[in-house]
Symmetry: C2
Amino acid sequence: MTIDDSLRAVEELMLAATRSSVPLLSETTAHILAAGGKRLRPHLVLLAHQAVGGSDVDYVIPLAAAVEIIHTATLVHDDINDHGTLRRGRETVNARWGTTFALLTGDYMFTKTYQIMAPYPADLNLILTKACIELVEGETLQIQVSKRGVLDRDTYFEIISKKTAALFVACARLGATAAKASHESIEALAQFAFRLGLAFQITDDILDLVADTQQLGKNTGVDRRQGRGIAAVRESGQGKVVAPEAAIAETSGILSLVEDNLPQEYTLDAVVELGRQQARELADAAIARLSALPPSEAVDQLRAMAHQAVERDR
Amino acid sequence: MTIDDSLRAVEELMLAATRSSVPLLSETTAHILAAGGKRLRPHLVLLAHQAVGGSDVDYVIPLAAAVEIIHTATLVHDDINDHGTLRRGRETVNARWGTTFALLTGDYMFTKTYQIMAPYPADLNLILTKACIELVEGETLQIQVSKRGVLDRDTYFEIISKKTAALFVACARLGATAAKASHESIEALAQFAFRLGLAFQITDDILDLVADTQQLGKNTGVDRRQGRGIAAVRESGQGKVVAPEAAIAETSGILSLVEDNLPQEYTLDAVVELGRQQARELADAAIARLSALPPSEAVDQLRAMAHQAVERDR
């Protein structure tokens, strides 16, 4: 089975597993799942499995589906909190069915992840529970920061570590552990995935900062309002940034990330370029970890994934 | 260890297990857990375990804690949907910290349940996942019904089966399965718990119908607005019920439950008495299932629990 075949099987399983005796829940869940997405996380599970010589694809496909379902569940709940109306180019569940059913849809998807995972051994379940807890903690921290209006570099990294990188790490560990890989291989892949997750999220935040609603297919400005964008930078477009105290207080993760290197008069272009540079360095650091693994097509694809995570415009 | 000791250990574990590196989540979770509650579900886990001769209390306490945490998580999310402001005599999480943090608190508690369960064998996890899914499905159905404004007897039973009885069944199965009980004993306890859950929820709905806010320690009228109360009955107090079409459309579960036996001119007292009678019959049917088990103190306590579930005023 090729990786593409496996990814198709993941799609089918996600839809089949979330069918409910309550038609509304089948409908809301299918709506958000069918909207697609990059499927980076299931892809990572499958590649990590292959990279350590694993070949039991049937065993790993449900793990990949579980991870993507829980990721999607958090998006559904985030969209409630952000009052987002577009996600993956489609109406959000809360925009179409209201807050209450969106809340229940997220809960439902979470329980389905748990159901898919239940037959698996404890070590795999413990990997995923750790990430689930960090997902919620990261989102909580981010909202606290947005209410405070201040975001420093350490807190920014704590947020993206928990909110994004933790689930990437779980993907790598799940795929590799399912193949009974050596401790060294699992750790190398986990470290790869952690850096990949950070690089991916920084790139996402940069894209949020510059992209318009249409290009990204979701509401930009929403994360920004929550303290992960620079209002002042955006207001002034590509020109010189006039940053009064109010705007500094609203600093995004990206600004906190690059401020050591900022010239006194900086532009949006400069902020974005410095941010992208940091993301690239993390992607390179991720790739360096792959040298612990024997060369293979899967490792090549992991390397390509890391490049792609930072060299994208959506 | 007595049952009371075990229940105290459950309390301690619930608080310890939900401590987070994000202080807000420790705080919100402790707030709602410390508000107490009947702890009927952990009690049921422990008694079911004992009733089949189980004695590995340390093994069962985390199961009991997991069940109560997931139950509490659903209350936190229900309070968002109901705009409830009081729960167990305390401010709800959404009233005190807002909808966003209440949503994340529920999510967090759910992930903690999953974490507590992760080290346990698949059969126990599958028991709990089934109930979790039904919890969400039952709540979804209930809200759909409330929007529609019509509730018939079958739908009322479907809702309370999923929303309440399913988790009671899981409690009984968890406790008994952990003791490696016979298939017959597990099924007898599961059937006991199913009927107990129905009787308990009907009684809850009756109390909602008649109790005032103070007496019950939570917002009455909230569930009623969601189609589980009889506005017309309430308006008219103890007197003759004038039930225009609008009020019939708003019929609660209780009205649907008793309407076959209603005299043409019925009072709130009559509705309540007929409802209580149905709850008592279910409690008796529950108790009858216990005859499959050898007599013991635990079985006596299960019997007392069933009586108590229907003979209470809060």
